[in-house]
């Protein structure tokens, strides 16, 4: 499959500060990838390098096959970029700015009006067309930033926190807009909002302290973390139930979560649910609930990031 974004051993120092530490990843055509990480993890630095705005200290970044440093201009032609803090000329009107952006991006003269109208409609800016950028609220400015990124339908979109500053209904609209780009565009977006990633992205790249700590689909990440854990709620004395559960072959660790709920971790990926149910009933306990433990992306994220931190501390 064609790789639209390629990053190899990318490293970025700001003076002595290491922001991005030899990261490697690829994004295939049509993929939507979420870039996740705590503040200062190196997300924005990586995206700025991909956009051709910052030079990497070492390593290679390619957009649509073009090197972000040596073939910057060609790379930028394939690119729509929404910066983290989008700054737009305050003295231009929305319409003037979009016209400038369309021309700067090389949209053909005959297509400009239609293309501008398309992004204005997509981002809900119809009523703002004649307004000066400095008179726009934060949310509208963000939408204008997104609108300019979508102009000329670039094959690659780099969106640094696209839904920040938007109201809830706008967030839903913008998310469906991004979702619609699936297949036709390659999107890499960074965000703090975890449900956004599970909704939008095929794949999540979690970055912490400048290094990639995980890269997989949201479902796989959650599954890996759960490792087949099962939550059972049982009516019965805690110690006896724990002992009974522990005796079952294939059970790794049993954790009591209080109020009769136990978390049972299986060792080898076998589905323990039928065995567990049989055992508990045979032993005469009242089985109230039995289900596989679902881990959300939040759990995965916190787990990975805190794991990293404790490792770093030790």
């Amino acid at each position: 499959m064609e790789m639209m974004i390629e990053v190899q051993d990318l490293t970025k120092y700001y003076g002595p500060l290491l922001a991005v530490n030899r990261i490697n990843f690829e994004v295939a055509a049509g993929e939507i990838v979420g870039f996740l990480g705590p503040n200062g993890a190196g997300k924005t630095s990586t995206l700025k390098i991909l956009a051709g705005f910052l030079p990497p200290t070492s390593g290679i970044a390619r957009i649509n096959g073009y090197d972000c440093v040596r073939q910057s201009l060609e790379g930028r032609r394939s690119l729509g970029y929404l910066p983290e803090n989008v700054a737009i000329y305050p003295d231009l009107t929305v319409g003037q700015f979009l016209k400038f952006a369309a021309q700067a991006k090389g949209v053909e003269a005959k297509d400009q009006t239609g293309e501008i109208r398309r992004v204005i409609a997509a981002c809900g800016l119809e009523e703002m067309n004649g307004k000066l950028v400095k008179a726009l609220s934060k949310g509208f400015r963000q939408r204008l930033g997104l609108a300019q990124a979508l102009l000329h339908q670039p094959p690659v979109l780099i969106l640094d926190e696209p839904t920040i500053g938007l109201d809830p209904s706008q967030i839903v609209e913008i998310r469906s807009l991004i979702k619609n780009l699936e297949g036709s565009h390659t999107v890499i977006l960074s965000t703090h909002i975890l449900p956004e990633v599970s909704q939008l992205c095929h794949r999540v790249i979690i970055i912490n302290r400048g290094q990639i700590v995980a890269s997989d689909t949201p479902e796989n990440l959650a599954r890996q973390m759960g490792r087949g854990a099962i939550s059972v709620t049982v009516k019965g004395p805690e110690a006896q139930v724990t002992a009974a559960l522990q005796r079952l072959p294939g059970v790794g660790r049993v954790e009591s979560c209080g109020e009769g709920r136990f978390l049972v971790e299986g060792g080898n990926g076998l589905d323990l649910r039928p065995e567990l149910a049989r055992l508990l009933v045979q032993q005469g306990f009242d089985l109230l609930e039995l289900k596989t433990q679902e881990f959300t992306l939040e759990d995965v994220f916190l787990n990975l990031v805190t794991e990293e931190e404790t490792e770093a501390e030790s």
């Binding site: 705005f53 030079p55 200290t57 737009i88 003295d91 231009l92 021309q103």
Partner: protein, 262 residues
């Protein structure tokens, strides 16, 4: 053409921003007030001197100097150059510094526009603004042309000189603006550099040695004076052309440095 479209877009954007800013109106206002005042004062003085000369039948050498080119426009061009020394930094200080400070550079530099386009767009817009100011002063000569016979050739040479001088100042100002995020610093650096190039010709003590000649060749004043007299030489044209290109080139280098200065 796609590419020329980008340059036109940049020009239009820069001009829109100029016309939205009070700096444009303020500098234009003061430039025209000062230019108008000096034109008026020179013309009145020329009238008085001519009258005296006619009454006293002065010697032919003085009479040769008594024409509008030498008495009105030459001193006017000289004083306009000094006014530009102060005004040009005000026009150029914003150009690149503000893009960097406000963060708009992040979009500008990630659009598929070459560095030369960005530079020429900004330089071109500033030059157009300056030419607009200059166009207003042409009305003075037209008005005077109704009253007396003017040497339009000499006058055109003077305007050409002023345009080249203005363009050179703007190129230097643009370079100063590329060095910093702070408009004030950009303005001060531009003014200091311009002043340096202006007064470098005063260093006559270096004498006629090779160093003295070299320094004198660099002086702005040296290459401007001929134009005000109505003389256009290739030596001066080459000087102004290289001055403009040199500073635009330095600006390009400065912009490029963002790709390797990690």
């Amino acid at each position: 053409m796609k590419t020329s479209c980008g340059l036109a877009a940049l020009l239009r954007k820069e001009l829109t921003i100029y016309f939205a800013s009070p700096i444009f109106y303020l500098t234009g206002f003061f430039f025209l007030v000062l230019a108008g005042y000096f034109f008026y004062a020179n013309t009145v003085y020329y009238g008085i001197v001519s009258l005296q000369a006619a009454q006293q039948a002065s010697d032919p050498q003085v009479a040769a100097q008594l024409n509008p080119t030498m008495m009105v426009f030459r001193p006017l061009f000289a004083v306009l150059a000094i006014i530009l020394l102060f005004l040009v930094p005000l026009l150029t200080m914003r150009l690149l510094a503000e893009e960097k400070r406000s963060g708009t550079a992040e979009l500008l530099f990630t659009y598929p526009l070459s560095d030369w386009f960005i530079i020429l767009g900004k330089f071109g817009a500033a030059l157009l603004v300056f030419l607009i100011f200059l166009a207003f002063t042409v009305s003075y000569s037209i008005a005077l042309g109704f009253m007396t016979r003017l040497d339009w050739g000499a006058l055109s040479a003077g305007y050409l000189g002023l345009t080249l001088l203005g363009a050179a100042f703007l190129a230097l100002g643009l370079f100063a603006s590329s060095l910093t995020e702070n408009q004030i610093i950009a303005g001060v650096v531009a003014f200091a550099l311009l002043l340096l190039f202006w007064i470098i010709g005063w260093v006559q003590e270096l004498g006629a040695g090779p160093l003295g000649l070299a320094v004198q060749y660099l002086s702005l004043l040296e290459h401007y004076e001929n134009f005000t007299k109505g003389v256009v030489t290739t030596r001066d044209l080459v000087y102004w052309g290289s001055f403009i290109f040199f500073f635009l080139f330095l600006t390009k280098r400065q912009l490029e440095s963002r790709h390797w200065r990690a």
